[in-house]
């Protein structure tokens, strides 16, 4: 808008002669060409460094088609018992881990909020968050399975640990964005620290906390399908076994069950969020 008419002139002339072009997305020409060149170099490197066994890929194609076809004929019955047990274990693990994780994440989140925590506590809690967020759930699961043995307990501890980092980070950010006026008002009445948190901070962050908890419940369910692969219980073990046996009809059934539950929880959390907001 602030450009001088002389600069606009060539574009206007081009428009009148019918040869107008939209402006490039990146205005700095050297950066634009630099990025294009970098992409080209990367593609060349990629071509020479990645080797793919195309004949093996071609061999697998009928198996791929068989798998896609099995989505049309999912088999819930013949392994119904295993699916039900795995699902029950996954759901219980998900709920227990989410509850434990959130209960532990609340103090960590309070400690990681710059506006209410003293500096040493702040750095300590931020370190916990960074540790919990860096590694994939599956890596944490391997370590906990090594410590606690096979079974759902390792899964619960894994999911709870991952929940702490996620919830505490978002809770801390929310507390840092909270309005100062209510906090000062409650503090001015001579409230204790706990009363201050309960009456000035909690009402401001509660709706978002509930929404995030439901979202995390959803994530934990999806993750519980994965950590079973390394022996941490849940429906992942059932799924892994069925895929390794090339029993794609059962795999498709398990995947459809997972998709169905995620879809249901998405609708549910939409309702709860409308209701709490």
């Amino acid at each position: 808008m602030s450009q001088s008419p002389q600069l606009l002139e060539p574009r206007l002339l081009a428009a009148k002669s019918g040869s107008w072009r939209p402006k490039p997305k990146i205005s700095n020409a050297s950066l634009r060409w630099g990025l294009n060149a970098a992409v080209l170099v990367y593609l060349v490197l990629l071509y020479f460094s990645v080797d793919i066994n195309w004949s093996r890929v071609a061999q697998g194609m009928d198996r791929g088609l068989a798998f896609m076809g099995s989505f049309l004929t999912p088999d819930f019955i013949s392994r119904g018992g295993e699916i039900a047990i795995g699902l029950r274990e996954s759901l219980t693990m998900t709920f227990a881990a989410t509850v434990i994780g959130i209960l532990l994440a609340i103090p960590v989140g309070l400690g990681a909020a710059r506006n209410i925590a003293p500096t040493p506590v702040y750095f300590f809690c931020r370190a916990i968050i960074a540790l919990s967020r860096t590694f994939q759930e599956i890596i944490i699961a391997i370590l906990f399975v090594a410590m606690f043995g096979f079974g759902p307990l390792a899964g619960v501890v894994t999911l709870a640990f991952a929940t702490i980092g996620f919830m505490a980070k978002l809770l801390a950010e929310d507390i840092e964005d909270a309005q100062r006026d209510p906090m000062e008002a409650v503090r001015a009445t001579g409230a204790s620290w706990l009363q201050w948190i309960n009456y000035a901070v909690q009402p401001q962050v509660m709706p978002r906390l509930i929404g995030l908890s439901l979202y995390r419940l959803d994530i934990n369910f999806r993750e519980s399908a994965v950590i079973g692969i390394v022996g941490a219980g849940g429906i992942g073990a059932t799924l892994n076994t069925s895929i390794n046996r090339y029993d794609y009809d059962t795999s498709a059934a398990v995947l459809l069950v997972i998709i169905g539950i995620v879809l249901m929880s998405e609708y549910l959390s939409g309702y709860v969020r409308k209701w709490t907001a």
Partner: protein, 270 residues
Amino acid sequence: MPIKIVNDTPIWQRREPLQQRLIWFGYFLALMLFLLCWKIISDNTIWEFLSDAHIQAASLIGRMIPPDWSITGSLLLPLWDTLNIATVGTALGVLIAFPLAFLAARNTSPHPSLRAFALAIIVSSRSINALIWAILLVTIVGPGLLAGMIAIALRSIGFVGKLLYEAIEEIHPTPVEAVSSTGAGRMQVLAYSVLPQIMPAFAGITVYRWDINIRESTVLGLVGAGGIGLQMNAAINNLAWGQVATVFVLIFATVIFSEWVSAKVRHAVI
């Protein structure tokens, strides 16, 4: 304002009694559900294994320190593979998600049935972790980088598609009207009024997903889909925890690097 009278002194309460009791009842139900879940878990757990958990943990950490740096050189090529899985996977996923988002957005979708179809694909892709796709693809296309790339792509479709169609639904309608009033065709309207508005969001979403994909692709090797996870799996199976620790340090560094790149790019475009 809810007030409770105790010994003729009015005391302020935050909520009405009924509301307060309902909230307590809700907490009570949640507690009962939690205890039920805990009972099922506890029944399926062999608690004897737990008695020596602290010894196991101490020995595990003891064997991880110091990390075995001698294998660092042999890990660099797998690390490059991991980066390739994440990058090519993101690119493939974005290529598919981009048209899908236009079908799924309420204001650009050509037909409601196409919209439902696109939304179903997005939800299915979001529900299933890349690792599960990888297990499946390893049995189909064989172990290696390609399985990892396709797994990452399949998982990215839902994520990018969802965020992008939400961005499309939030665009400003005035430029769309302005461009359509010039007599532009359907594709021209999309190209000259919708696309410029979603480009910054699109770049941000893509880089954000790339960052997540780097994390995810580090573990795909556990199921044979290539990358540094293969080396991690081998080290774990050999119980060579010093080597595992080296892999962890490399993964940590890569994740920090990709997070830094993603933060820079998102800062530049938004």
